[in-house]
Every structure is written in C-alpha cells, then in structure tokens.
C-alpha cells in the first residue's frame, strides 16, 4: 500500500466514530498497543520534550527503508504516534519527504499538531522528516 492508501484507510476507520469519545477511546487503545520502543533508545538525544508530554523517536535504516519507533508518556499522544508510524515507517526517504500528511486533519486531530499544544507531536513530525533527509544523504 502507498502512503496515501494507508491514509485513506485510517480516515475510513475513523469515519466510523460518531462521538469524539469513541475516537479517543480508539487512540487510547492503539496507544496502549504500540510496542517496539527499546529501553536502549530512551536517551536524551531521542527525547522531544513538550511542555505537556514527552516523546521519544528512534529511526534506523532497513535496506533503503526507514523504520521509525517512538514512544510517549501520554497515551493520547502515543495513539497519534502509532498512526504516524503506521503511515510513515517502512518507507523510503523520498516517499516520506514527498508525503502529504492530510489524514491528521481529516480525522479531526489537527489541533494536536498545533504549536500551542506543546505535546511534542509537531516536533516529532519535524524530527521524522529530518531523519528522512539525513538517511537520504547517507544512501546517496
């Protein structure tokens, strides 16, 4: 599936929720289910300190694809992280850099990415792009 197809899939999933509460219950569920962030990666250099919640991001190359792992101390933040990883992880740097991430707005979570939220998500997305730029240079 392409990035856009996965985005469409997520938008479809969220369209099932009439109530905001159900949407957040789902974010909590996928936040709780997000695994794979190793304790070794819980380093100062991987930490994005929001005023409200903390986010850790790790990235590594698997062939020409970037594998992202991330974690947060707040579950709703972690739920949104899980969605971002689902869309962007396992992609080439070019795919990531050319991606138009419209799903966050489409599922009504855009305010979580506003600078005033200070939950680390906006900085995390920038960090994911920076990794893509760096790995693109490395891959040549």
């Amino acid at each position: 599936m392409t990035i856009n197809e996965i985005q469409e899939e997520i938008i479809e999933e969220f369209s099932a929720f009439d109530e905001w509460m159900d949407k957040y219950a789902y974010l909590i569920e996928i936040g709780n289910d997000l695994e794979g962030f190793k304790d070794d990666w819980r380093l100062e250099q991987n930490l994005i300190e929001g005023c409200q919640s903390k986010v850790w991001v790790h990235a590594e190359l698997d062939g020409d694809k970037i594998i992202y792992s991330a974690d947060s101390d707040a579950i709703i933040t972690k739920g949104i992280i899980a969605l971002l990883i689902r869309v962007l992880s396992g992609r080439t740097p070019d795919e990531i850099l050319n991606a138009d991430l419209n799903f966050v707005e489409a599922i009504g979570l855009k305010d979580h990415l506003s600078p005033t939220r200070s939950n680390g998500l906006l900085a995390m997305m920038k960090q994911m792009r920076l990794y893509a730029v760096a790995f693109k240079a490395k891959l040549g």
Partner: protein, 406 residues
Amino acid sequence: MNINIDKIRSDFPILGEMIYGKPLVYLDNAATTHKPQVVIDALADVYQKYNSNIHRGVHYLSNVCTQAHEDARRKVQDFIKAQHTHEVIFTRGTTEAINLVANSFSDTFLKAGDEILVTQMEHHSNIVPWQLLEKRKGIVVKYIPINEAGELILNKLDELITEKTKLVTVAHISNALGTINPIKHIIDTAHNHGIPVLVDGAQAVQHTPVDVQALDCDFYVFSGHKLYGPTGIGVLYGKEKWLDKMEPYQGGGEMIHTVSFEGTTFNELPFKFEAGTPDFSGSIGLGAAIDYVNNIGLDKIAAYEQELLDYATEGLATIPNCRFFGTAQHKTSVISFLIGEIHPFDIGTMLDKMGIAVRTGHHCAQPLMQFYNIPGTIRASFAIYNTKEEIDKLVDGTKRIAQLFG
C-alpha cells in the same frame, strides 16, 4: 453572606461562550481569570473617551487620564491597605515586580555570598530571578522544604536563616497546591533576625483580604489579570524605607527628574520605578476590577470559594485512585490531582473536549513536581463565578475518562 451567583455570572460575558458546542466550564482561574463587563467597559472608556499620555500633558484629556491612573493607584493602596500611595508601583505583572526587586534590591543591598531564602513550592517566577542573581552576583539561594501535604516545614526556617540571609521570599498561596502559607509567622520570624520579606500574592489577592501593614511585609506583589483585571498590569508594593534606597530598575522617561549628559537625577516614588509610558489603561482597568471585587466583598468571595473547594474535593475523592497533591490544612481554590497513573495531559485533553478548561502540567513549579516525583498534575482552580454544577461536570467528566483507561 450568600452571593448572587446568577448575577455574578451575568457580569462575565465570556461565560456565555460555547466550546465545541458545549457551555464553557472554566476551571483555570489560577492561570488567569475572566473579566467582568465593568472592567471591559473601563478599558473601552479609556480609548473611546480620554486616551492621552499621562503626567506630562497640559491639555484636558491628559489631565483626565492622569487623574484616572492615579485614582487607580489609590484604589490599589486601599485594597492592600498600604500606608502611602507612593508605595504602590505599577509593573507589568507579578513576574516583573519580582524581577524589579531582585535587581534593584540586590544592587543596593546584596553582595556575593549573601543568601536569599525561597521555598520549595514557589512558581518559577519566584525562583529564576533569584537564581539569575546566583550567576550574576554570587548570591546563594536556599530553599525552605515542604512536607507531603504541601506545607512549609517551618521549624527548618530558624536553621536556614543565617547572618548572611538578606531576604526571604515566599508565595502567600501556592499556585500548584493551593496551600495558604503562614506568612505572618514567616514575616515575624524573619524580622526577628532583621531580614525583610517579599510576599508573592499572585494567587492570594483574589481570594483573601490582604493588609500589608498588619502583615508588616516589606514587599507584596501581584498581577491584575488573576484579579479579574486586564493582562499586562501588576503591582509591587514596597515599604517606603526600602524603595527610597533602592536603585531604579529601568531607565527612560517618567522616572527622571533632570537629565543631562553629565548625569541624571531620578524622580521621586513611585515614578522612579515606572520608566516609560505606564500602562494607564491597564491600571484603570485594574482599578475597576478592584471596585468590582470590593462590591462583592472578599470575605464573601473567600467563603463561597471555600464551599466550592470542599465540594470539589469531596466529589473528586469518589473517583477510584484519585490522588490529591496539596492537602494542607489551610488551602484555597486550587485542587491538584491525578487519577492513578493516567498522564495529566490525557485527562486534560479529554476534559477540554467536554468544554471543561483545566490546567495540566507542572504549573511552572518544576521543583515541586520533582518533590512529588510526578510529571505534573491536573489542576482545577476556582473563581467567584464558578458553580457546584460546573464541579459536577468536572467530576463526572473525569470519571468517564478514567473508565476509558480501565
């Protein structure tokens, strides 16, 4: 002693706003309070009727505006029962008032090695200005510790005071915990050692009557915007004997007597500390806010808010795994809590969706959060316009959220 809550709520236009289609439940009053129509009108009046720069015009409007600004100073004087009008300095807020003292008091009275006592529960604005002095002047900052309940451990006070202690600075009421500190006792103890005391009243003046002469504090600071007044205006009260000897904080117009290239002489109090065009619309708005509070009566306000605090504490305590931070015997209008291990941001985010505004995070009191070893709390803080029905919504909403987390 009853207050007319419907009348009070109708005084605040913003309380009619809908948030995500739901009526606003505003419980973030320790951050800032809303403004009654009389304050909004006072600000509009300045700009619509008599806006003019003050203290220097010969023309009519300037005189009217100057009069209104100085009337506001007298209202502040009466409000905190200062002996002299010129002991009331207008600042941008509590933070600037503390920075003013940190700079001007230290320039005149402090030398390397001198000590300043603050407390473990202070807002960053009553920690960082003193830490800057540590770097700049070699001043040593010491901290009065607190107990689990969030009360100052006062028997440590005598141990911490040394012959090098030159100032004690303490919050009247904790912004994160609601603890009402025994400032009279602290002031008396410090004075027994000849040490002046600064009281941070940012969380106090809107909840409890303050008499700076009865307290005998040397400095008392607060912000207008937490007292139903405009943002950008605050007050430094200082005893004349200190202010007279302190160096000016900032230079500019208004604060000078004569200026030549050979040197400058400074204006008298309070103008010595008010460089530049003062925020006269802010001061006039603050005066209107003080009138508003006085008309209701701070005793009535305190009694009503105590009712709200007790009601909210009982309600939240019914939620399984609710943990309170700040259980001091004497506290007011602030409840800090967590539900089990749920991150405060998660609960705050979902309460927001219900139209309920609370504060989450460290409340600019990170040393305090380190003491409790938590990332932050959810803080509900009350004002005169809050109701028990709103508290019911907070409790019910928090319960629903907690259930989602299982």
